[in-house]
Amino acid sequence: MFPRPIQTQSRAVQITYQTFLPLALILWLLPLIAVAVFSIKPDTDFTSGNYWGMPGSFEGFTNYGKVFFASDMPRYMWNSVLITVPTVIGAVALSSMAGFALGIYRFKSNLWIFFMFVAGNFVPFQILMVPVRDLTIDMGLYNSKTGLVLFHIAFQSGFCTLFMRNFIRQLPFPLIEAARVEGVAEWRIFWYVVLPLMKPAIAALSVLIFTFIWNDYFWAVVLTQGPESQPVTAGITSFNAQFRAAYHLMSAGSIVAAIPPVAMFFLMQKHFIAGLTLGAVK
């Protein structure tokens, strides 16, 4: 245990630590707290220059109500859902199969294919931008959710395969050997033996990919425009243009856009962190 557990230290040190903890947290989250405060203020506070004083009145419901009922925000949110969920399903499906193949079988090009996925996953997006945009236009999928989903599935399958393959490597191999001795077909081994053991990995990947895709901005701008298909990250900029200088509404909008991944994180914290830190420990 390092640093030395606080319990073994003097009382004074313990109290100092306990007081510093919340202070440090407030300092760390200060920019976010500021936005949260903004989002419940009435607009008169901003016109009268009362930025940091007590809110003139509590307008949380009015502000958030406006975001939900007087703007395109719900539409953008729904688009985000329709982009994120299929991507998660697609990427997890593709990568559990690919991870199974790379983790269980030994064949000549195994490591090279694996490295192709890993390397592709590190590539800067910009090198893909022009060709992928052209491809999407040629397929007639420009400015459609499908176009965005297809690309996301393909790109995320790089990271997901890396993740799945390493996870499957840690499964007890004798289990698969035993199944083979029994004469179980290979695809049945995948479906009935390996897949049930992969549940934690699937859960972890799903939350991670959900967050990554929900928060994607670059591809949303490159492959879509307009409220019919843009996700919330891109939509928030048009939202802000609509409510220029209405800081209380822009703050409320930002918070609404941030909530789904945050909720996902808090609900699935264990899986999220397990996924993010895979490989951080030997």
Binding site: A98, I127, M129, F218, A258
Partner: protein, 310 residues
């Protein structure tokens, strides 16, 4: 763990066809096919296409004209490209601060007091929200008229600083915003790493009189090597991918001083002043080549691991 494919373990039951006999050789390819297909079409082939496009003068609609290395020689004289490249190096270097900062916070939080789990999650918070929101949050934080930063500076009698409007400060301001979520990420990596530190080694070192910095440097950090490696990988990638924050916070301004390659490329290829796909692709290739040095290093490290791990 070994994963050698066994020789056909089950006896061939009277020649049940070609597939049955070659099942173990064919199955992995069947399982790989969809992922490889997607990855090829959307990732691997486009990389080569970009290399090709960078040799053309092309507006994305009309006829593409082959100009060889014309785009690259134009880059050499492009002031904006030079600025973007320098900013990329600033990002690379300063973004790495997330690693020690994350380690520091992880050490601070690596205690068992009541509510510490909640503290850890809340410290991790900035990583979960999208960079777009982080960008907005920091834009308001820096705002010269009402931003929290200047309000705080005002308390100490320091004049208002327009971070995002000042060509010399703007890149640092954006990097600071980027460090916020990145530090959170490194923190969570180190917290996990610290959990796995061998308590016996720590005890033994304590008996030998090691403490404080010495303990950290000689006992703890070597054991955190896997976490550091991942933190390094994700931070480098994050630095070179920085686009969202710049786009949201300054849109490259003031006077293009906060551009980086990824942003400049986007601007050239898809700006309202006409599309220059070829030139954009050339910028992307430069960015890719910088990245390739790191990718090669990461893969080499992983390769050694794979070979050693058997």
């Amino acid at each position: 763990m070994t994963s050698a494919a066994l020789p056909q373990a089950h006896p061939d039951r009277g020649g049940r066809g070609w597939y049955r006999r070659n099942e173990i050789a064919i199955t992995p390819w069947l399982f790989l096919a969809p992922a490889i297909l997607f990855f090829m079409v959307y990732v691997i082939i486009p990389i080569f296409q970009s290399f090709n496009i960078s040799l053309y003068d092309w507006d994305g609609l009309g006829e593409a004209r082959f100009i060889g290395l014309g785009n690259y020689s134009e880059l050499l004289d492009d002031r904006a490209f030079e600025v973007s490249l320098w900013n990329n190096f600033k990002w690379l270097l300063l973004y790495l601060l997330a690693i020690p900062a994350g380690l520091f916070i992880a050490l601070f939080l690596n205690q068992t007091v009541t509510g510490i789990r909640l503290y850890k999650s809340l410290f991790f918070f900035p990583f979960v929200i999208s960079q777009v929101v982080v960008g907005l949050v920091f834009t308001w934080f820096y705002d010269p008229t009402f931003g929290l930063l200047n309000t705080i500076l005002g308390v100490f009698g320091l004049g208002p600083v327009n971070v995002l409007g000042d060509p010399t400060l703007v890149t640092y301001g954006i990097i600071a915003a980027g460090l916020w979520p990145q530090t959170a990420y490194c923190m969570i990596l180190y917290l996990t790493g610290l959990n796995a530190v061998d308590p016996e080694q720590v005890e033994a070192a304590r008996l030998d009189g090691a403490k404080g910095w010495k303990m950290l440097w000689f006992i703890i950090i070597p054991q955190l090597k896997p976490a550091t490696f991942i933190a390094f990988v994700v931070t480098i990638i994050g630095a070179l991918r920085s686009f969202d924050l710049i786009s949201i916070m300054t849109n490259g301004g003031p006077f293009g001083t906060s551009r980086v390659l990824s942003f400049y490329m986007f601007e050239k290829a898809l700006s309202e002043y006409g599309f220059r796909m070829g030139y954009g692709a050339a910028i992307a290739v430069v960015l890719f080549l910088i990245m390739l040095c790191f990718i090669a290093y990461f893969l080499w490290s992983m390769y050694r691991e794979e070979k050693g791990g058997r």
